[in-house]
């Protein structure tokens, strides 16, 4: 065998070369030395430290991903999204608080990444709340069946509480204030009968409008998303 060229040495390093090559190295000190230098260099770059991700990382990725997945069958997919929302919020909040208090920077997701996840979760929550509020505001007081809005409001109430808790820890008073205000309306909707008397619905609609709640939810939702995307 003639002396292997550089490209063959590289191939050899990655285990893509036959026995004849190894034979040659044993007999040719010159090639053996060249190969050793190459090996030392390539071994040295193997230690390329990647920030670690903990075992919950897959679930975190999924939680961030799911609101963005296009829905195959609109209604069932949409319902699943509703059902999933509070569960994700719980998971994210727990992950956030755990990471925050134990400062596990090495093993966990970084603080920035975690805050980003939370901002996205808050923004998604506000988006879902906005849909319910919009439906309420546009419902006809004379002929409204609010069973679906009520059910969704119930889910949103628990999600709202978790996220409020988190927003407190993130030291974001304007979001906390909005979530407080939102919670009061959501609780009222959640506790109302599905056939709300026309006067009560009209009063609720007026309350949402006079507090400018829909607008605040929309603006804060958009700002939170933008802030999360910039992190």
């Amino acid at each position: 065998m003639t002396h292997p060229d550089e490209e063959q040495l590289v191939q050899a390093y990655y285990g893509e070369i036959d026995d004849a090559f190894h034979h040659h190295l044993e007999e040719c000190p010159e090639c053996a030395a060249t190969f050793d230098r190459l090996k030392e260099m390539l071994d040295s770059v193997s230690d390329y430290p990647v920030p670690e991700r903990n075992s919950a990382y897959g679930a975190e990725v999924w939680a961030r991903l799911v609101p963005h997945l296009p829905l195959a069958q609109p209604r069932p997919g949409w319902l699943r999204w509703w059902v999933l929302g509070p569960v994700l919020a719980t998971l994210l909040t727990v992950a956030f608080l755990a990471g925050r208090f134990t400062e596990q920077r090495q093993t966990g997701i970084s603080t920035t990444a975690r805050e980003r996840v939370l901002l996205m979760a808050i923004s998604d929550h506000l988006e879902r709340s906005q849909i319910v509020l919009t439906e309420l505001v546009h419902a006809d007081p004379q002929a409204a069946d609010l069973a679906s809005e009520r059910d969704r409001a119930r889910d949103l109430v628990s999600e709202n509480r978790l996220l409020r808790e988190t927003a407190v820890h993130m030291d974001d008073p304007s979001v906390v204030a909005l979530l407080d205000q939102l919670e009061r309306v959501l609780v009222d909707v959640a506790n109302s009968p599905s056939a709300l008397p026309p006067d009560d619905l009209a009063a609720l609609q007026q309350r949402i409008e006079s507090e400018g709640l829909l607008f605040k939810v929309r603006v804060t939702g958009a700002n939170t998303r933008e802030k999360g995307q910039k992190l």
Binding site: Y57, V61, W62, R64, Q73
Partner: protein, 193 residues
């Protein structure tokens, strides 16, 4: 749920989001590692992970099961990383991410893992030089090298990811090694006892 990747992909393609969830949870870690080595920073890697799974979901109908699902996903991730690197270049953010900040980051991570002062100084040298050197590789060279060296992909898988022939893939790995070798040379001169 003990689904194989192929089964889960098949179910996901039929619209079962939970099946896709299985795939996301299973592959997130390795996709993050690949994305990080491709982009060289944490935030870009996170964005790449998201974009990879989003694209994968939208393109599931194109996954024919010919290659392993993980290889298919790697290809998407590599392409997302390349898109991001190109966008970053065009935004002229290159300076920020390859400059002092990124190197300092990198040094911190190396230092945390290797306390021996002698090795540290050489590690520091290599660390100083490696990320900028990787950034100077062509996109194809960087992809080929990362897949070969860090991900242990064979030449055919790399060719598949890059959409080139086996010889071109092989040659890209070689060129990357040559360039890195040249870039890292100073560390060996200093580090040599």
């Amino acid at each position: 749920m003990d689904w194989t990747d192929a089964d889960a992909a098949e179910q996901a393609r039929k619209g079962d989001q939970q099946a896709f969830r299985v795939l996301v949870e299973r592959h997130s870690q390795s996709i993050f590692r690949l994305a990080f080595r491709m982009t060289g920073n944490e935030q870009d890697a996170e964005d790449t992970v998201q974009e990879t799974f989003l694209r994968a979901y939208k393109q599931l109908h194109r996954f024919d099961g010919r290659a392993a699902f993980s290889t298919w996903l790697y290809r998407i991730c590599a392409n997302c990383s390349l898109d991001l690197i190109r966008a970053r270049k065009s935004r002229k953010e290159q300076q920020d991410s390859t400059g002092e900040g990124a190197t300092a980051h990198w040094l911190e991570r190396v230092a945390a893992r290797d306390p021996s002062p002698e090795r540290l100084s050489q590690s520091r040298q290599i660390a100083n030089l490696l990320e900028p050197a990787l950034q100077r590789l062509s996109e194809i060279e960087r992809t080929a090298f990362v897949l070969r060296h860090y991900e242990g992909c064979d030449i055919n898988q790399i060719a598949d990811v890059l959409g080139v022939g086996a010889n071109a893939a092989k040659h890209s790995v070689f060129r990357a090694v040559q360039k890195l070798r040249r870039a890292l040379q100073p560390a060996w001169e200093v580090g040599a006892r």
